[in-house]
Amino acid sequence: MTETTRTRWSLAALIPKHNATISAAILVLVVLIFLVATQGLIISAGSLNLLATFGPEIILMTLGMGLVLLVGQIDLSVGSMYIASSVVFAGLARYLEISPWLSVVAALLSGVLLGLVNGLLVVTTRISSFIVTLGTMWGFQGLMLVILGATTIPIYRQDDVFNPHDLFAGRLLGLPTQVIWLLVIVVTLGWVRNRTRFGVWMQAVGSNVRAAKMMGLPTRLVTIMAFTISGALAGLAGVIRASQSSQAVPQSGEGVMLMVLAGAIIGGVSLSGGKGDVLGPFLGGLTLLVISTGFVMMGVVNFWTNILIAIAVIATAVAFDRLEALRVRRSIR
């Protein structure tokens, strides 16, 4: 080997293989910026508590969005499913006086069901999921508002018995239980994505659905599963939300979908499908949450958050694109 090839190789080795590496670098950068900007407040107990309490539900949905994007689709209805689940929980308990635990089960199932509806609509109508879930985003929420109206539904709980609040927004081993839920799900989904054939199939379907079909993969089932997982995670997020705040607000949830989508993009998931893992969206979602928490800590008006998120999304998209170009160049000999 000549000198030049060796130099080229060592340089090439610096190009990260995985998008998640970039996502991690961005997270570190954002944390550093806010360490300086908030003079360390970002890692104060109060700030971390805020993150751990309100963060997990958003990240859960980001993971779901990541998988839907991986199979080459998009799910604009996550925000609606999230709120719908919290409303099912609170509504059943309050208006039908069903036990809180049963209401929780119903809420989780409603997430699964709505996700399944999305998936079935996408594969049977063959209309783009952008349009289908744009429809169901309005549809799910409209249905909810028609049935219950735009009134906040409180959840009463008795403090002396073990109730859903303890499981979904309580504390265990000094951690908020929602953090534990999140970690368990990240590990589980990561295992599915990286170690099982279903993970490979999701990527294959998103990369080239025709080839996937030619190789005999159950492409429709894979697509339906991705939407259903997204619905289930939104359902869990909704239960956490309602447990945490002891109420459900039917007319809320605005901006959730965009935040989740942005998190997935910062997580290195491609909008054109076939790229993305579980760790990336986890880091991407976390990055956005650090940004919003950071601004809260600085006492800056909310609108700045949007601007920084905008920059983060576009900057990372550019970074991923450049990385891609570098990898292509490396492979051309």
């Binding site: 099982t196 490979v200 294959a204 080239n208 190789m215 492979s331």
Partner: protein, 249 residues
């Protein structure tokens, strides 16, 4: 008399006004290599997509080992032992060469719902598969970085390395270099020893005459000729193609 590995009767398929297949009969015995020739648009690929479950025929019968079957999807066909190399690229570009080689046929270990990909075994096998075709692509490289010929080679490797009853190759030597073509023809001959039936579509009459036992000639969705290769010659086939395919209605 031996049972044909695959037998079709009266297969019809139309795309709108285009009658791509107008009642085709065909059979391939185990260990037999059937060459399929015909002009562009003669219906060869359509027949192959029907046999591989990718397209549903409008009518006709398909039998595998003497059993009538309905192929609802490529998954059905693969399960029944039909492996296909499609004319168009059927690789997922974002997946590694290895993942593509095992797509839909992943090796796994463990039990029940906890079975995981057996990456170690797949790595070793895929290296063997590439070596078998003298392909130099790395098994970890994303498929989109492969050259056209390498991609073609991957599709072929994946079809030949499965225990299939019938292997169908739609213009497999299209993008290949001279050495690779020889290697592929050699592998096709190798199928014979394993008792695997093979359908080989090609525009290269020379190759067909070289490896096939029998040759079928298609014109406008019908089979015009079906004869042992020993009873014809490349020259005669080319002559026939020129005569019959030139004059469209």
């Amino acid at each position: 008399m031996t049972q044909p590995a695959i037998r079709v009767q009266g297969i019809r398929k139309a795309f709108g006004a285009t009658r791509a297949l107008q009642g085709v009969d065909l059979e391939v015995a185990p260990g037999e290599i059937l060459g399929l020739i015909g002009d562009n648009g003669a219906g060869k690929s359509t027949l192959i997509k029907v046999l591989s479950g990718f397209e549903r025929p409008d009518g006709g019968l398909i039998e595998i080992d003497g059993q009538p079957v309905t192929l609802r999807s490529p998954a059905d066909a693969r399960r029944l032992g039909i492996e296909t190399v499609y004319q168009e690229q059927a690789l997922a570009d974002d997946l590694s060469v290895m993942a593509n080689l095992f797509l839909g046929n992943e090796l796994r270990r463990g039990w029940g719902p906890f079975r995981v990909l057996d990456t170690r075994r797949m790595r070793a096998r895929s290296q063997e598969m590439l070596d078998g075709l003298r392909l130099r692509a790395s098994i970890d490289q994303e498929a989109r970085f492969c050259s056209g010929g390498e991609k073609q080679g991957i599709s072929i490797a994946r079809a030949i390395n499965v225990k299939a009853k019938v292997v169908i190759l739609d213009e497999p030597t299209n993008a290949l270099g001279v050495v690779a073509v020889d290697r592929v023809l050699e592998l096709i001959r190798g199928l014979r020893e394993h008792g695997i039936g093979c359908i080989f579509v090609s525009h290269n009459i020379q190759h067909v005459v070289e490896v096939c036992d029998r040759v079928a000639l298609f014109v406008h969705g019908t089979k015009l000729l079906d004869t042992p290769v020993s009873e014809t010659s490349a020259l005669e086939l080319i002559e026939l193609l020129n005569q019959r395919s030139g004059n469209r209605i």
